[in-house]
């Protein structure tokens, strides 16, 4: 083709800083998210150490509140979300037979914004103290500005989340468009693998939920930094407004987290029982329904706010309704396993362990949805137990399952199964030890976010077991780290299709070449690879002749743009607007460069394809 500019090719670190390849971005998300998961985990361990015995004095007062706040915020926004994005990046384009995502540049930008948002939040530990108003940042507590201006706390939360949230939002749009427009021929909506479906719905939820938190954060920022009065009662503001804005976002957010895990489980359970997913169309429908209903239930976090019995009752019923489509999923998984030939690889152990654990968390969720009873549960360890059952026992088990499942595809190396099983059992037992007793702690009168509790009222045993369990989970995670690091030093050994897979990602080498598919595959049904294998074919039928492949060029602009935003954020925080202007100027400059110089990309010619297929 005429415009085959020879693209700049970077190596080493520069390659990672400038990459726009969705597979590399997936790895970046996984590593960054993994590091934040360790941070959040260490914070959790410190919380549990303080609560080991009553009346301990290790982390008290706002230090403890900062640990709690940072643990929740880090885990939700900077560990769980990015690891989900890691798998979406690594897998979705492959599953739909695409060479790339719709907006590779935007994809990289999304990653760097998330990353610098997370860095910004965590610099708070060194710059006067971390935010300590809870991950929910309820105003007026979150609006209190330290008169000496040496403690910026919630400013870090506001700006860090704002930056990262923008990254997530554009990431969501990217995946929506990718899935709408980039599917291979024959990949109709009702043939998409379930993980792609959940990625699709999750992206839609991101698109419609994140603007709400953006506005909430802007308002909080205006109040804190520019003397605004949104939540300032003395000037007519209203603190309940923040609760609404936060939860209009916050509840969909929990489904943003769990839906991709549902997708992962669907893939794994079906692969390792060698059966197609039971009730595929009802699974798709249930996913969409959960996503839709997810926007109609936010008030269940506010039953005790004083909304009144009518509002409480309506939102209670709406909340309970979500149990129905979720149940459909649970039973479909069980009946996918039914009659199959189940292989217990580590991935499948995690996936099958997800099912009962998540059901326990989901059912306590329905208990919480009963307003009059929630008056007792709310803001106690019962709620903490509920959401760790769905998040750790659901999402995190799902993510570990996905990690074991897709690791060969992402890194070209098989993880060690024995270490995997040790990881599973320590983590799983530790998990139940940590969070099962917390149900009772809550009912026995222990509020959440407390740095100590009274001795002699029956709370000691539960807290003690809980802390031991947390350590076990830590050990499990360390085993996983050992597993990944030790295999990383071995040569690549993963075959293209290690698990006898069913979907398109297993039709290409592990790790895939940069252009994914030499020829776009033709999809002839659900579980396309399985279909071809059953028909006796070794590989997918191509939908096009071999030809030159267009690739986007790498770019450093996403990184620079995000750094600009980061700098601007600090400028606002310290009211040194010169710095903000510099930061914004950097951002505008990046935008200008991007729009003036069109990216023509480069082409990989047919003759290069064969030898390129080998290396990553």
């Amino acid at each position: 083709m005429a415009h085959s500019h020879k693209a700049k090719h970077y190596t080493g670190l520069m390659d990672w800083l400038t990459t726009v390849d969705h597979k590399k971005i997936g790895i970046l998300y996984l590593i960054a998210g993994g590091l934040f998961f360790l941070m959040g985990g260490v914070e959790a361990i410190l919380i549990r150490i303080q609560l080991l015995y009553p009346d301990q004095k290790i982390f008290i007062g706002d230090t403890f509140n900062a640990l709690t706040t940072m643990h929740g915020t880090t885990m939700i926004f900077f560990a769980a979300m990015p690891i989900i994005f890691a798998f979406m990046n690594a897998v979705v384009p492959l599953q739909i037979g695409a060479r790339d995502v719709a907006f590779p540049f935007v994809n990289a930008l999304g990653f760097w914004l998330f990353f610098f948002g997370g860095v910004m939040l965590n610099t708070s530990w060194f710059l006067g103290g971390a935010p300590a108003a809870g991950w929910t940042a309820y105003s007026p507590l979150a609006s209190i500005v330290d008169p000496t201006i040496s403690y910026h706390g919630v400013d870090f939360y506001v700006l860090g989340l704002q930056i990262a949230g923008l990254g997530t939002l554009i990431g969501g749009i990217n995946f929506l468009v990718t899935i709408i427009n980039m599917r291979a021929p024959g990949m109709t909506y009702m043939r998409m693998p379930l993980f792609t479906w959940t990625a699709f719905i999750t992206s839609a939820l991101i698109l419609f939920a994140f603007p709400a938190i953006t506005v909430g954060l802007v308002e909080l920022m205006f109040d804190r930094l520019f003397g605004g009065a949104f939540f300032d009662v003395a000037k007519g503001g209203n603190a309940v407004l923040w609760e609404h804005l936060f939860w209009i976002f916050g509840h969909p957010e929990v489904y943003i987290l769990i839906l991709p895990a549902f997708g992962i489980i669907s893939e794994i359970v079906s692969t390792f029982s060698k059966k197609r997913l039971f009730g595929y169309s009802s699974m798709v429908f249930a996913t969409a329904l959960i996503g839709f209903l997810g926007f109609m239930v936010w008030v269940h976090h506010m039953f005790t706010t004083g909304i009144g019995p009518v509002g409480n009752a309506i939102f209670s019923i709406a909340t309970m309704a979500i149990a129905v489509p979720t149940g459909v999923k649970i039973f479909n998984w069980l009946f996918t396993l039914w009659g199959g030939q189940i292989r217990f690889t580590t991935a499948n152990i995690f996936a099958t362990a997800f099912i009962p654990t998540f059901v326990m968390g989901g059912t306590t969720g329905v208990m919480l949805a009963v307003p009059a009873a929630d008056f007792q549960y709310h803001d106690t360890y019962f709620v903490v137990a509920h959401f760790h059952y769905v998040i750790v026992g659901g999402l995190v088990l799902g993510l570990f399952a996905g990690a074991y499942y897709w690791w060969p595809k992402m890194f070209g190396r098989m993880l060690n199964e024995t270490l995997g099983k040790i990881h599973f059992w320590t983590f799983f037992i530790g998990f139940h030890m940590t969070f099962f007793p917390q149900h009772f702690l809550g009912l026995m009168g222990m509020p959440r976010r407390v740095f100590t509790y009274q001795p002699g009222v029956g709370l000691e045993e539960g807290n003690f077991i809980s802390t031991i369990g947390a350590f076990l989970m830590g050990i499990g995670t360390i085993v996983f780290l050992i597993n990944t690091i030790s295999t990383a030093r071995l040569p690549k050994n993963a075959p293209a299709d290690p698990w006898d897979g069913r979907t398109l990602e297993w039709a290409i080498p592990s790790p895939p070449p940069e252009y994914n598919f030499k020829q776009t595959p033709l999809v002839r049904g659900l579980d396309p690879l399985w279909k071809e294998k059953m028909a006796g074919n070794k590989e997918m039928t191509p939908a096009e002749p071999i030809g030159s492949i267009h690739m986007p060029s790498p770019s450093i602009l996403p990184l620079i743009f995000s750094i600009g935003f980061f700098i601007a954020g600090f400028g606002f925080m310290y009211h040194t607007y010169v710095v903000s202007v510099i930061g914004i100027a950097i951002m505008l400059l990046c935008m200008l460069l991007r729009s003036v110089y069109d990216d023509h990309g480069y082409h990989i010619e047919p003759e290069e394809l064969n030898d390129k297929g080998v290396k990553a």
Binding site: N65, Q341, P356, V359
Partner: protein, 333 residues
């Protein structure tokens, strides 16, 4: 069918869970040991919903265990290709309809109790009306009809509805007495209304259940439930100013000079700090220290070491002045 027999094995588990639930915790703070009608209603809802949930969990676990054991690939099994089942309408209808039915069973009492427990008894002649104001990190209680105000210890008559009007002076808190019933948030600039009732005379523990700052964990209070006669006596005592013995006069002066700006010591006084009228008969000092002279001294000497971030400053006083103060405070019966 044979496999449903598995279900019966879980019945003991069901019973065990229920027993566990009703036997848990200390009887002045556990939501599982209700000491008033509201908490009892709520425990009923909890048990009802828990029962339904256990049913669900048992069914899921039973199928799960069966499937995993029956269909696992055993050593030496030949690789087979199982039948690729697409789905089953009958089954799918069953597991859509049955949960809907279960939820309907739950929904009806949910709605009726939600309405019942949010009744407004403020203008009820038989109810005792209490205005609660939450502060970082203490509680203020006013009895508008009785013309008295107190702090930290909420004194109520047993067997009567207590109609609460709750609000906050600074940030959000939540007012929670687990033994008597569920919590409500105290919002700034708004009031929430609800009611509780205690069966008998006892002292219950109260908690702040919304993150409100550094000492959120220590924002405890006591609920002293008295017989009606005792309650009336208490009201009278609160209205009569305490007689200050001669050896406490010194302390009274120190108090007037240093403390009165924040602490009122009369029946109705409100201030920046808790009203200390009747302080000597309170269960605790500052809500968390046991009530004795040592604690009072410790508190006055360095309030921040007891409750980090609380709003009472450290007042520079000599040890003997503090001793005098304690004598004075001890006389505020």
């Amino acid at each position: 069918m044979n496999r449903w027999q598995n279900l019966w094995r879980f019945i003991p588990l069901f019973g065990l869970m229920m027993m566990l639930l009703t036997g848990c915790g200390h009887d002045t703070i556990s939501a599982l040991k209700p000491r008033g009608p509201v908490a009892r209603d709520q425990l009923f809802l909890m048990k009802l919903s828990l029962g339904i949930m256990i049913l669900v969990v048992v069914v899921v676990f039973a199928i799960y265990v069966y499937v995993l054991i029956r269909f696992r690939k055993k050593k030496g099994d030949k690789d087979i290709i199982p039948k690729q089942v697409e789905g089953s309408h009958t089954l799918e209808i069953i597991w859509t309809v049955v949960p809907i039915l279960l939820l309907l069973i739950l929904a009806v009492p949910t709605v009726s109790y939600t309405v019942k427990l949010s009744e407004n008894h403020i203008n009820d002649k038989d109810a005792v009306h209490v205005k609660v104001t939450a502060h970082q990190f203490w509680w203020q209680f006013e009895y508008p009809e009785l013309g008295i105000a107190t702090a930290q210890d909420l004194v109520i008559p047993a067997g009567k509805k207590i109609a609460f009007e709750i609000t906050s002076a600074d940030v959000l808190h939540a007012f929670w007495i687990p033994s008597l019933g569920g919590k409500q948030d105290t919002n700034v600039g708004m009031t929430n209304v609800f009611y509780l009732e205690a069966d008998d005379a006892d002292t219950f523990m109260g908690k702040c259940a919304e993150l409100c700052g550094a000492s959120h964990a220590l924002m405890d209070f006591k609920v002293v439930s008295k017989t009606e006669a005792d309650f009336n006596k208490w009201v009278e005592k609160m209205k009569t100013p305490a007689t200050i013995p001669a050896d406490a006069k010194n302390g009274e002066q120190i108090f007037k000079d240093n403390c009165l700006s924040c602490h009122a010591v009369n029946a109705q006084g409100l201030g920046f700090g808790p009203n200390l009228n009747g302080f000597a008969s309170r269960e605790m000092v500052a809500g968390i220290l046991p009530h004795d002279d040592e604690s009072i001294k410790k508190w006055i000497k360095d309030p921040q070491s007891v409750k980090p971030g609380n709003k009472m400053p450290q007042i520079p006083l000599q040890d003997n002045q503090i001793n005098d103060l304690v004598k004075y405070l001890d006389s505020l019966k």
